[in-house]
């Protein structure tokens, strides 16, 4: 019986150790190694003695990252793009979640399914769908010119605007679902009480509904912000040459420049940046779980 318990724990444990933790330690190690040593075929350092390993460590790649403008700008611009698109997703997602929570009971299961359905559809295809719409000859420009907003087609595809649209579109379900969950539990008599006590509809919304759905807003924002920061597909399909995002930089450093140590160093710093929002997110979830008990 103890053998069985051991096997039950050991199999998933060792799987994750071998295919999640060890690979990550390798990235960490390579980020601290010399370019010349690590250019393919690099000698695997796992076999090397620990002393040799420590002797080889150097922070050259990190000082290189710090000295080159490109990387600083890429991190900052990723942060900016992630923050702005999270804000837009919240602005678009909140009214939808609110409408769902106020919809008649018998509609809700269907509305819920309609929000989840895009999530099951290929991410790549959802991003691709916008390429045709946003291009210079695309439907959006045709519409704008027909309405008379603009005489010349606007350049939307291959700009940051297209990246914002892409992120809002693909991550919208992640924002709607937690906010809907928070609003669904909300007791509407609280709003009625506020209105009876002299609040206007809008005041009641600001003073009662928004604070009580705070957990949903926070959870949804992190669920959009965290993946958006390391996004690769959206900036490379919808963004232009001027769109700097760190996921794209890492990809190009690895596949085009074949500079593995720098790619690894880029990855390590991206992870360090992500640790803060991840911890905040975990804490929010814990608080919510405790509040429910």
């Amino acid at each position: 019986m103890n053998m069985r318990r051991f096997a039950l724990i050991a199999v998933p444990y060792f799987w994750l150790l071998a295919l999640f933790l060890v690979p990550f330690l390798i990235v960490f190690k390579i980020s601290l190694s010399d370019t010349a040593l690590a250019i393919p075929p690099y000698t695997p350092t796992i076999k090397d003695g620990i002393s040799a390993l420590i002797a080889q460590l150097d922070f050259e790649n990190f000082t290189f990252l710090a000295s080159d403008d490109l990387y600083w700008k890429a991190y900052l611009s990723s942060l900016r793009i992630a923050v702005i698109s999270t804000a837009f997703t919240l602005l678009v997602g909140y009214p939808i979640a609110y409408g769902m929570a106020r919809a008649p009971e018998e509609w809700r299961a269907t509305l819920m399914m309609l929000v989840i359905l895009p999530f099951w559809t290929s991410f790549l295809i959802r991003v691709y769908a916008w390429m045709g719409i946003l291009s210079n000859e695309g439907l959006l420009n045709q519409l704008l010119m027909w309405v008379g907003v603009t005489a010349e087609p606007l350049q939307i595809l291959n700009t940051n605007t297209a990246v914002y649209i892409g992120i809002v579109y693909t991550y919208l379900p992640f924002m709607i679902l937690p906010i809907y969950a928070a609003l669904d539990r909300l007791d509407e008599s609280l709003n009625e009480a506020a209105e009876d006590l002299g609040c206007s509809r809008l005041q009641a919304f600001w003073l009662v509904t928004i604070p009580l759905s705070r957990n949903g807003i926070v959870a949804g924002s992190f669920l959009v912000f965290i993946p958006a920061l390391g996004e690769f597909v959206i900036p490379s399909l919808l963004g232009g040459s001027g769109t700097l995002m760190i996921g794209k930089v890492l990809w190009e450093e690895f596949f085009n420049n074949r500079d593995w140590p720098v790619a690894s160093a880029v990855a390590v710093i991206l992870l360090l940046i992500l640790i803060i929002p991840i911890i905040l997110f975990q804490r929010n979830q814990q608080k919510q779980a405790e509040a429910e008990q």
């Binding site: 069985r4 318990r5 039950l8 724990i9 199999v11 998933p12 444990y13 799987w15 994750l16 150790l17 295919l19 999640f20 933790l21 060890v22 690979p23 390798i26 990235v27 695997p44 796992i46 939808i96 609110y98 409408g99 106020r102 919809a103 009971e105 299961a109 399914m113 309609l114 929000v115 359905l117 099951w120 559809t121 290929s122 790549l124 295809i125 959802r126 691709y128 769908a129 916008w130 045709g132 719409i133 439907l139 045709q142 579109y169 919208l172 509407e188 390391g230 690769f232 597909v233 490379s236 399909l237 996921g247 890492l250 990809w251 690895f254 790619a263 690894s264 990855a267 991206l270 992870l271």
Partner: protein, 273 residues
């Protein structure tokens, strides 16, 4: 009292239009006769025909399905085990590390997961191909499975398992005859989630695939980089259709089974005559 104001109706209409219009447009334009994807030149199924003759796409589709079936099945077994360990396993050495390793891949950027696995595979001299993609996909999707299954394990009544043990069944029998049937819906949705994630994945597959094995998303991505193409529109339409049918079927099935469960509870509560 629920009120549907004009504001709620408008925001729902606009919101769902935003979610669905791009995909509807994509589907409509897949039936466009013109090669110019932005000009409508009449209805045609020409691109579907060309797609079915494109061997590179068909091969990639086959590799993708193979990888998805194998990796999601292994991930379901490993993920269910991991969930069981987390919820029922009690204390053991390195439990915190274990739960950390279950949750970390969920928030890890795909580029980092892909890069780290590739460096591992090169480090141990494993040739990149179907096997490496399966290993990579299994690793991240087992974490999703484990989250789905453990939320179900947490909510169910442990005394049922204890009763089975008291009545003389072995822990394995108690798991197979009592626990597994109860958590089955979560295990199935875990498998579906793992399957979809694997079908969908571009970034991790790009890092771990070799020249011998290309998946459909990699193929689509390299075609799409050059611009919009009617063949990709046709392919997208097929994929959207499959997912839509799947999701609607799944929701109908779960609706029916929850109705049946309600009826059974009602029947059980009815006093016997």
């Amino acid at each position: 009292m629920k009120r549907m104001t004009w504001f709620n109706v408008t925001s729902l209409t606009l919101g769902f239009a935003f979610l669905y219009l791009p995909m509807i447009i994509l589907v409509i334009y897949s039936f466009n006769a013109s090669k110019l994807v932005t000009v409508w030149a009449g209805f045609s199924t020409r691109w579907y025909g060309e797609l079915l003759q494109n061997e590179a796409f068909l091969n990639a589709a086959w590799v993708t399905i193979k990888v998805a079936v194998i990796s999601s099945s292994i991930a379901t077994v490993l993920g269910t085990m991991a969930a069981y360990v987390l919820v029922r396993g009690g204390r053991f050495m390195g439990r915190t590390l274990f739960s950390g390793m279950i949750y970390a891949p969920l928030v890890m950027p795909e580029v980092i997961t892909g890069l780290s696995l590739l460096l591992l595979f090169i480090g141990i001299g494993l040739d990149r191909g179907v096997l490496t993609i399966v290993l990579a996909h299994t690793t991240f999707s087992m974490c999703y499975v484990s989250v789905v299954v453990s939320s179900r394990l947490v909510s169910f009544d442990r005394s049922l398992e204890e009763a089975a043990l008291d009545l003389g069944s072995s822990p394995w029998e108690a798991f197979r005859l009592v626990t597994l049937p109860i958590i089955a819906p979560a295990v199935i949705s875990g498998w579906l989630l793992a399957f979809t994630l694997s079908l969908d994945d571009l970034v991790i597959a790009s890092f771990t695939a070799g020249p011998s094995a290309t998946t459909l998303p990699i193929k689509i991505f390299s075609a799409v980089r050059l611009g919009v193409s009617p063949e990709i529109n046709a392919l997208s339409t097929i994929m959207i259709a499959i997912v839509t049918v799947g999701v609607i079927t799944a929701s109908l099935v779960s609706k029916r089974s929850s109705l049946r469960a309600q009826e059974e509870t009602r029947a059980a509560e009815r006093p016997t005559t």
